[in-house]
Amino acid sequence: MQRFEGQVQLVLYPFALNPTSEVATQAAWCAGEQGKFWEFHHMLYRRQELWNSLAAPLERLVDFAKDLNLDTAALKSCVESGRMRDRMQADKAYGQQLQVSSTPTLFINDNPDNRVVGTRSEGELVRLIRQELNRVRPQGQ
């Protein structure tokens, strides 16, 4: 992203594939209410093996939230209230409309032909972004 500063925007659609991931998604959005969505998001990936096999990961995620100086009681009550559930379901439904069946799936500039499924190397993503930049902003313009 830094390499393409000012030229690229990433819009994240958490697409929970199982109940454990649903809890994590809601926790991330609840962390977002406290202004720390991205910090929590990155932490979920960094510590993935510590929570992703748990059937009920909320307590563990709340523990992690302490490290980010989040209000853990507020985070826990936010997740338990289920007020992020609709939002999560809406994103899931949106992904299903777009025939997203595995993650990660990327769409570049709303072009269904520019669908990138599966993990790609940084080099390949850079190439795809450059290709799209050249398409939308031909050289010399």
Binding site: V11, A24, L98, L106
Partner: protein, 87 residues
């Protein structure tokens, strides 16, 4: 008599064979035409299905964007929508 009939058979056979010879390529031509039509229809249906799917996808893709966390510059030339799962 036998000689006569043999001679007749010899003179008749080219006449009888000639329509058969012309039927074979005609049959092949017919098969080729039918095959071509079937292929064209299949390609057309496939293309139509793909077109309809994509026409359907594009408006869906353009519709949503609010209430989502983003990184990078708003209004950038390249917008990437990422669907990802935490597990």
């Amino acid at each position: 008599m036998a000689k006569k009939s043999k001679a007749r058979a010899q003179t008749l056979s080219p006449r009888q064979q000639s329509p058969r010879k012309s039927l074979t390529p005609r049959r092949w031509r017919l098969k080729l035409v039918i095959g071509g039509v079937v292929l064209a229809v299949a390609l057309g249906v496939g293309g139509l299905v793909r077109f309809l799917q994509q026409r359907d996808l594009a408006p869906h893709l353009q519709g949503v964007g609010d209430k989502h966390y983003t990184q990078g510059t708003a209004g950038a030339a390249v917008v990437i929508k990422e669907f990802s799962d935490y597990t």
